[in-house]
Amino acid sequence: MIRVEDIQKHFGALHVLRGITFDVQKAEAIVIIGPSGSGKSTLLRCINLLVEPDSGKVFIDGVHVNRHGIRHEWVRQQVGMVFQSFNLFTHLTAIENVTLGLTRVKGIPHDQAIEKARKLLARVGLAAKENAYPAELSGGQQQRVAIARALAMDPKAMLFDEPTSALDPEYIREVLDVMAALAREGMTMIVVTHEMGFASNVASRILFMDAGKIIEEGTAEDIFQNPKEDRTRSFVSKILR
């Protein structure tokens, strides 16, 4: 579904990604862990081309997307993204946040868009909040609207960039539940998170990244119980404590 081949990225003189290669199968949920500054967010942004990789190839559903002649706007519609700080459009209600992309990017008529948005909001458990503005919602509710907004574009895969790390502990559960349900329904997902419970229950594989490279890859058991690399071991021991 998603394939990344030898991606390199520099920000000025800073070498952020140093040759990343991995594969994500359809309906697979992958969790990426790693210390801050290891390039996890940049990697996600390289997949939907919010950040253009310097070299290397990104394939989405078999299509090589980071080459000339492919519109970035089209690529981004294929892959939904959820951000750490939600980034809901503050001037629009919950339902307008979901419909904006449908009506303005996909050109779907307004009433059909509304209908679809209602279904999606119901799916993330927010049917009652459709007319609330983001500032009137809790963090967990905002993040769930953000998930509905990304799903509205019918993405082939979803990218989650630390979706729960800006939330109060009491709201983390509801967002993770929505994500776990998505994974059960067969959505292809790449999740950057440090929620170890989510990683071990939902993830089919875990990648450990450090300093712009994938250090280790394996099931939750491999990574958490018997890490092979020293760096993985020291990182896991810090976050599992």
Partner: protein, 318 residues
Amino acid sequence: MTNWRKFLRDRWRYFDAALALAVIIGSLVYIYDLLVGNRGLDVAYITRNYPLYLHAVFNVYATTIAFVVGMALGFSVGWLRTARTVSVAKFAASMRVEKRERQEAPSGSEVTRRLLVVLSLLWYGTKYVVRRIGDGFVEIIRGTPLYVQILFASSFFIVFLPQYASEGILIGIIALAINTGGYQAEIFRAGLQTVHSGQVEAARAIGFSRLKAMRYVILPQALRLIIPPLTNEYIGLFKASTLLFVLGVQGEISYIAQHEGFAGDVFEIFAIVTVIFLAITVTLSFVVQALERRFRIPGLGIEQVKLPRGVRLARVGG
């Protein structure tokens, strides 16, 4: 008893406005009384000069056209000024990286590599130059008096486009538009930069192009933020439009200059002119306040506290 209290609470905004007006007009009357009270008000003189008061319409007209044109100019320049330019040092650093990589792992032909370097240099160079032109424009407009700018525009037309040199209104409106464009560029830049970068990222992530993200996500938020400074700018421009009298344009002040020559018994006229300008600007600020309430985003910023019917705030210390 309770009825008039309720009436007062519901209509407080209007009483508030009336009170503000009363204070303003009262002060003017007091000043008038101080200056000409003892010699009496020359009503005939005031009514004889009624065409003067109609000339305020011209000021509104000129200001509005200049303001709208300046808005387009200001938005363009303001947007331009949010463009990121790459510093020479950073560009050189990325070029060094690229050169090292080329030596380590040669790929592609040498010619295409060179071409890419030249193209990126051109792209960043153009961006840099265009942005600096925008910066220069704002600095020039902001750093020179409007009076000088109007005279400059007038002399420009006399020298280079003499066939239009007698079109005082045209020249005046162009001068005002360019002037307000410079100020509005700064207002727009501030507004656009205040919208959180995550908003653009989110819009781009669901497939919006840069232009559409600007139209549907950034501008609606930025415009709400800049309503107050834009109003300020409009009022400032409206007042500044009186300066057009130097072009012989039929505005408030030119009429006085022509008919009264700024000499003698013109206090009454300036008092009336003051009141006319005040009435227009005060009306405008009330309209804008209503606009701001209408477009406020629920849950953001400071909200006027509205109590449900029958609920009263507890009296503190009473």
